[in-house]
Symmetry: C2
Subunit: 132 residues, 2 copies
């Protein structure tokens, strides 16, 4: 299964819009956290720190979901279900700086913790719905 | 398990802030959708239409998660994991009108579909985290 991010909603990923990422805990219950994101072609990219709850969840169960609201109109949004096709540390430091630029206007990600290892999830959309 | 919505984050539920509700599909993958919400004491209330994907999910698996960002500062948020303790049609029509008042400033919910049956989920928080 594969689905395409519609052309007319790609602008959401250029705005300072948070995605809300849903993952599944080991007991089968869901977890939702706000995250920065961007697009790489048709892949949605999320950047997190290795070992966090959502990271442990995604390594166990690659199925994820997310919704992203237009900050200029919350009744316009995109909801995606998909799979994390790749988890990589390659380029993840540069990517979090890129996201800091997008969301904070800063060249370097300012919240880095000592010992933190950044990772990128590349999410392949499998089901896309939209409103507005 | 029970957790309390912290006093200093209850204001999020008086703002026009969407919650992003995470549920689990029959195949064990997550689903996330933006929803209106409010508080009733320590319960989070969501109102949806019977038969939607999230409704079918919740009737199968009562574990849910949600995150709610402060519209005035997206780096301030509350994330909750919990359980739908009650699903009821009682008072659900009045409740969706109350939410329409909060979110749209309208006395009556304007998006009602013919034949739609509204339901309230009462969510008991089990794990609460916050930032900002």
């Amino acid at each position: 299964m594969a689905a395409t991010i519609p052309e007319q909603y790609r602008d959401l990923f250029t705005k300072k819009a948070f995605a809300h990422l849903g993952t599944v805990m080991s007991d089968g219950s869901p977890q939702v956290t706000p995250v920065w994101c961007d697009l790489d072609g048709n892949y949605i990219r999320i950047n997190t720190a290795k070992g966090r709850v959502k990271d442990r969840n995604v390594r166990r169960n690659k199925k994820v979901a997310l919704a992203i609201l237009d900050p200029d109109n919350p009744y316009r949004y995109l909801a995606v279900r998909g799979e994390v096709e790749e988890i990589t540390e390659n380029g993840a430091d540069a990517h979090i700086d890129l996201l800091a630029k997008k969301y904070l206007g800063k060249d370097k990600y300012p919240y880095r913790q000592p010992g933190e290892v950044r990772v990128i999830y590349r999410i392949r959309p499998e089901k896309v719905s939209s409103r507005g």
